[in-house]
């Protein structure tokens, strides 16, 4: 394969990386005055990268001698990532401009969209990686951006603390991941996923996985589990979600989660597929522990961002149930789950963005939502839809996501796992419903500042419609797309 053909397969990454460099130049010469224009140019670039997925980049096979694979699975994951990145770009400018501690321009800076674009490049590499080196470099690119974004509001001590904490913990996780990669390389003699799968299959046939390979596998999965915040590698999530600026938190909870989850699926199925019995127990433990800890941890939270952090841990647990099944249907269920999950999560964070007092300062307490149904009827209704959907209550789309993963788990004979999952989802329903109760039945708290962004209101309405019963019209299409994505891995 020639380089030109390889470059054509990586077209979305080329567009994003090249575009980011151009925008960086604009930002450097025009200064922060250009920040808003750069935001919208970045959204346009992401749209262009999404369109590029229609070409050979959507399903063109391997590029660069087996370092990168453009298949429907990667294309679907990239589509979700681009949507999430575009939404987190759209909700950023107003938020940063409102914080006027950084000067008249506020904290609005043109580097934010550039960093998000570079992060999208890293996430695209993660979901397309069929080599441990591509995996690691893509992951680090995404991680490094995440540290900067977490502490983007550098005048705010909580934001700075979040960035530092994320850096220290994530660097440790990267070290563990890298150690796992080196062990796998040492004991399978290759870093390519296909080669690893062949070597692992030989080992399994020859009387079980070697100790070195097994330790490498465990370390690799532990490193990736940190990135998707699965228990027991979740401890960073609440602090960092609380401290980061809200648009950044919304970004953390959506795009990188999809990327890391897709990476997790691809590594386990493509590279370690012959050793399914070895990793299934790890996934089952992580799934159950995440569901339970996410459910119980969220109950006592008074801060809405912390609560949503535990909610994301909880949701990742449900998605992992589909992966534990290890079947094609299971993988399709995971991808459907992530698609529905980002709609619910981004919607919730857009609502959190509306929570600000009369002076425009953000409020994050759950108590401040009291009586929202009287002051902001539409906002309260939308938030209630997201909460019911996250809880998985039937007419809403969140139920369908949970149904798919449980169905896949039962079909793979993991019915005890599905049973515990269903029981735990009742526990998590408690705190989602508590928010609905606060909004509809508690005495009104001081009203929020009136809505001033048509765009944010429109995005909230769009997300609420998508997860409402109307979203079931999209379910057949989602089923077809996720099924073709899953087929690409088997």
């Amino acid at each position: 394969m020639t380089y030109a053909a390889s470059l054509a397969l990586t077209l979305p990454e080329m567009i994003l990386a090249g575009g980011a460099l151009v925008l960086l130049m604009i930002a450097a010469f025009a200064g922060d005055r250009s920040a808003r224009a750069v935001h919208w140019l970045a959204v346009a670039l992401i749209a262009a990268a999404g369109l590029a997925l229609l070409g050979p980049a959507g399903n063109g096979g391997d590029a660069f001698g087996g370092l990168y694979r453009a298949d429907p699975f990667a294309a679907f994951a990239k589509l979700l990532i681009y949507v999430a990145a575009a939404v987190s770009l759209a909700m950023a400018p107003d938020f940063f401009a409102r914080d006027t501690t950084g000067g008249p321009q506020g904290q609005l800076r043109a580097e934010y969209p550039v960093l998000i674009l570079l992060s999208a490049v890293g996430m695209g590499m993660m979901v397309s990686a069929v080599d441990l080196l591509t995996l690691y470099v893509g992951l680090e690119l995404q991680n490094l951006v995440a540290y900067i974004l977490a502490s983007f509001m550098r005048n705010n001590t909580r934001s700075a603390e979040a960035g530092l904490k994320y850096f220290v913990l994530s660097a440790l996780a990267s070290g563990i991941l890298l150690y796992g990669i080196s062990l796998l390389y040492g004991f399978t003699a290759t870093t390519g996923f296909d080669g690893i799968a062949a070597a692992v299959a030989t080992q399994v046939e020859g009387g079980g996985l070697g100790a070195g390979t097994l330790i490498g596998l465990v370390f690799l999965l532990a490193g990736i589990a940190f990135k998707i915040a699965a228990v027991p590698f979740h401890m960073w999530t609440p602090d960092i979600y609380e401290g980061s600026p809200t648009p950044v938190t919304g970004f953390f909870a959506s795009a990188p989660k999809v990327a890391a989850m897709a990476l997790f699926v691809r590594v386990t199925v493509e590279a370690l597929g012959p050793a399914t019995d070895a990793w299934r127990q790890i996934i089952i433990f992580a799934a159950l522990a995440s569901i339970l800890l996410g459910a119980f941890g969220a109950i006592g939270q008074g801060n809405i961002k912390r609560m949503l952090a535990y909610s994301s841990i909880n949701n990742i647990g449900f998605a992992l149930i589909g992966l534990a099944a290890g079947t094609e249907a299971g993988v399709a269920a995971v991808m459907s789950y992530m698609a529905i999950y980002i709609a619910m999560t981004l919607g919730s964070f857009l609502v959190v963005l509306q929570m600000r007092d009369a002076d425009g300062r953000p409020i994050e307490t759950i108590a401040s939502l009291s009586g929202l149904s009287q002051s902001r009827r539409g906002l309260a209704a939308a938030f209630a839809i997201f909460m019911f959907s996250l809880a998985g209550i039937p007419p809403l789309l969140g139920f369908w996501a949970k149904f798919l993963v449980f169905d896949a788990a039962v079909a793979a004979g993991l019915w005890p796992l599905a049973a515990i999952g269903i029981a735990a989802s009742v526990i998590s329903a408690f705190y989602y419903l508590k928010i609905v109760k606060t909004m509809y039945f508690d005495d009104p708290a001081p009203a929020y500042a009136p809505a001033n962004s048509v765009l944010e209101g429109g995005l909230i309405a769009l997300a609420a419609t998508a997860v409402s019963p109307l979203g079931y019209f999209a379910v057949p299409a989602l089923g077809v797309v996720t099924a073709s994505a899953a087929r690409a891995l088997f």
Binding site: T10, L118, L133, T134, R154, G163, G186
Partner: protein, 203 residues
């Protein structure tokens, strides 16, 4: 013959420099001995035919890390009396650590005599005709070009991050404005005053 002499020379010096790194009291001398140890380790690498690692040792460890250590050590305010205190208190812990290290050495030697760990073959065996720097370069710029370019993006992100997180406008600076300096004309800057004899002038 010469290889054996070189090996024993380098090996002796590595061990001696390593020991002195730990034993000398002055931390600055300690870092200097560390640099000597790195140089000799690089020599050992050359002897086993790994020139690339030898170069890396000199460039990265000696050139960057050790010099960084040296700067840090020089900036420390070290109380040399305090360094000598507490010897007896930490003796049991130190002895324990020494015991662990000794046990590790015994294991290592035993493992070595029993034969190495059975690692897989290399993904791309070094071609015999090429020096290994060339081999690494060829692989890096052909097969792994995509990852190499992405690593460049990682560095770019680090650069942007450093600017975003640390650069801020400070008031009171006096930056040079070359255009303004050149545009300044003599009549704006110079005044001719006819100073009377015996009197001061008013500026």
């Amino acid at each position: 013959m010469i290889e054996a002499v070189a090996f024993y020379l380098f090996a002796t010096l590595v061990i001696a420099a390593g020991a002195l790194t730990v034993l000398v009291r002055n931390p600055v001398h300690s870092v200097l001995w560390l640099i000597v140890a790195f140089f000799n380790a690089a020599g050992l690498m050359v002897l086993v035919g790994a020139e690339f690692i030898a170069m890396l040792l000199v460039i990265v460890y000696v050139g960057a890390i050790a010099v960084l250590f040296l700067f840090v050590v020089m900036m420390l305010d070290i109380d040399f009396a305090a360094l000598r205190a507490g010897f007896v208190r930490y003796l049991p812990l130190g002895a324990l650590l020494a015991l662990v290290l000794a046990a590790e050495m015994v294991f290592a030697i035993a493992a070595w005599t029993a034969g190495g760990i059975d690692l897989g073959a290399r993904i791309a065996p070094t071609p015999a005709a090429k020096p290994n720097i060339e081999a690494v370069g060829a692989l890096l710029y052909t097969h792994y070009l995509f990852v190499f370019e992405a690593a460049g993006l990682v560095l770019l992100v680090a650069l942007i991050g450093a600017v975003v997180l640390t650069q801020r406008k400070r008031g009171g600076g006096r930056p040079q404005n070359a255009a303004k300096q050149i545009a300044r004309r003599p009549e704006d800057a110079v005044r001719n005053i006819d100073a009377p004899v015996g009197e001061g002038i008013e500026l």
